[in-house]
Symmetry: C2
Subunit: 393 residues, 2 copies
């Protein structure tokens, strides 16, 4: 097969708010090769990601992503890795390139799986797709009472695990934060899995993060996610050395496998969270999963969008029976629900699996794509470099 | 003062080739505040960088760079740091944001310096601007003979230091590479400073890089630059442990101060090379310079474009008398020469200095901006998010 076309669809809710909800827009990628069509998603910021695919070159190491993708052979996982290496080299100085290529790379695996009649996780070398326990991703309430109500609601909806994030945590006193942690614990019960995500709120301030550790331990929190910015390896490492039972989690900001490996090796995290829509796709995510296994820590997906991204994100650790927690978009916007004809719904035990179907096993709903698509055009020096394509059918 | 406007000018040579020459296009940033105007440059890939400034938000942590810049107070270096922190937080998931903000941040220092009547290096806390020895950045020839001729030419033009990069190195045998190194040494003479840049050619392959070390040592090469990709900390560290007199150099790919610090702390480099147009501007570059001093290694600028970027790149280590090597665009394209009315020319000893003039001390040539500007337009959902501004005057 040969890669014939790569099309980007910029999809959005009519209104996008500033809440910490990644399901408000999407950049869908459609790739065609050898009579097959595959799909992927770039996370996030559709406009710069489109620009990185079509931009004029600045020089040899600053070429658009398209230069390393269009027309390339696609017959094996090795072909995908070769394309990825060329993107990294030829688009070295286009910072956004990793996000742009992430969606393309997923689509290449989707095509390869469809062509070979195999799910992607089999192409990655796994023999089975093991069930994962989804956690509900929720925002902390404005006060502890609201946090408790949200935890109760998640439990009532059947979730055995809940992650609370952002909101007021880290902005007030450690005591105020402690009230939120205890409220969530109380509502979830003693056997609920409680996770906390503070969204880089402490920047590089280890002491402020460490001041929350006693309350996190007391509330039986399993992980503290993203205390610092994505590259703050030394701060991660310093905090990890002060942790008792709580482990650090991070990695969603990694835009290559090395960055995630460093968080494990230097940052001392216990859970590595990979967004396939940012790290360069499924291939580098699988490398991180292998490294996590070698280092005895746990791999988790980062997915805050829709079920195509969810399927892609489950593939790299589908075969790891002991890595059982998965992020699951618990309250996505209508856009994110409408975009796929099928969904990865929890089974009767409340667990979800990477699908046992060719490729990523997800069907795109063309009507929804057409309904939510934003008309977009990029023009340089009189040439139209990008204009929103029509979704076929 | 308050930041009133931020304008981007996409400038390009009529033809851009794929040679490793970063002076073929430029993204000039013009910022106005309190009656002052400052300039900066984003390196590289103008279109994605513009898109990251104007893109619609995807969610609260994925906002355009503009959201954290326009209307902000600008009265001190602390104000610049506060804006930088907000960009990092609010544009967390826009990968390109660091490159976009780099040019803006330079312009903010330029304004502050002009308003206070001080050169930027004084605002950074330095008392003097020390002379640096510029090296000519050259490409290896197709064969050793051509490399020798280029080295001879650089010596004849008065350069005491020359860096050879890219070309065939790493693509053939170590013996073929050795011939290039020795040819360059022979032409430069025993007292010429010889530097080698292999542009990430070895990816993550430590053994292939190490196979070149004996020849590099024999040719008296001072540094081996970018053997691996920018995030390959462990590979840098492994190679550094095998080095004798040759030291590793790297850092141009760092898009925040942490990444550069990690190359020093984990990667074992002896020279840290910072591009102010990528790392987030002058402030984070100064943090890296401070860290380099603390760790006893040498700071060097990375500048392959024009003299506005050169002045910005010299500021963070202007006051470090012992850090004497600087990169200097030796054969830039006409665009890069025409863009500024003044140039940082070597003095009679062949040395260059950060200017002793308010701000960055560089005057932009409006005629050249107008002549090389590419008409550019970005449109989403019927709204024009960006259209090439007219350069005033």
């Amino acid at each position: 097969m040969q890669i014939e076309s790569v099309d980007f669809f910029y999809l959005s809710m009519p209104e996008v708010t500033l809440e910490a909800d990644g399901s408000q827009d999407a950049l869908l990628v459609r790739v065609a090769a050898g009579g097959h069509v595959g799909f992927g998603e770039c996370e996030a910021a559709p406009l710069p990601s489109i620009a990185a695919f079509v931009c004029p070159p600045s020089h040899g190491a600053c070429q658009p992503v398209s230069a390393s993708v269009l027309g390339r052979a696609l017959n094996s996982p090795a072909d995908i890795a070769a394309i990825a290496a060329d993107v990294a080299y030829n688009s070295m100085d286009v910072l956004q390139a990793a996000h742009t290529f992430s969606g393309i790379e997923m689509a290449l695996w989707d095509i390869l799986g469809k062509a070979l009649g195999e799910p992607v996780w089999k192409l990655l070398g796994y023999r089975a797709s093991h069930a994962k326990t989804p956690y509900a991703s929720l925002l902390f309430g404005d006060d502890a009472q609201q946090t408790m109500l949200r935890a109760r609601d998640a439990k009532a909806r059947g979730f055995k695990a809940a992650k609370f994030g952002w909101g007021p945590i880290g902005r007030g006193t450690p005591q105020q934060d402690a009230e939120h942690f205890m409220a969530a614990r109380e509502a979830l019960g003693h056997d609920g899995i409680l996770l906390v995500d503070v969204g880089q709120i402490f920047g590089e301030d280890v002491a402020r993060a460490a001041a929350r550790l006693p309350a996190l331990e007391a509330a039986g929190v399993v992980w503290l996610e993203e205390p610092f910015h994505a590259s703050a390896l030394q701060e991660y490492g310093a905090l990890a050395r002060q942790c008792g039972k709580v482990r650090l989690a991070g990695g969603e900001g990694a835009h290559n496998a090395s960055m995630a490996r460093h968080l494990i090796d230097y940052g001392g995290i216990g859970f590595v969270q990979i967004d396939c829509g940012r790290i360069g796709g499924i291939g580098p995510a699988k490398q991180v999963a292998d490294h996590a296994v070698a280092k005895g820590i746990t791999y988790v997906n980062h997915t805050f969008t829709w079920h195509l991204a969810l399927s892609a994100s489950l593939q790299p650790f589908a075969g790891l029976a002991d890595h059982t927690i998965c992020e699951y978009p618990a309250a996505p916007k209508e856009l994110a629900v409408a975009l796929t004809r099928n969904h990865l719904l929890p089974d009767r035990h409340g667990a979800v699996c990477a699908p046992d179907a060719p490729g990523l096993g997800i069907e795109i709903d063309g009507d929804a794509v057409r309904r939510y698509q934003l008309d977009t055009e990029l023009r340089v020096a009189g040439r139209i470099l990008y204009r929103s394509p029509k979704f076929p059918g």
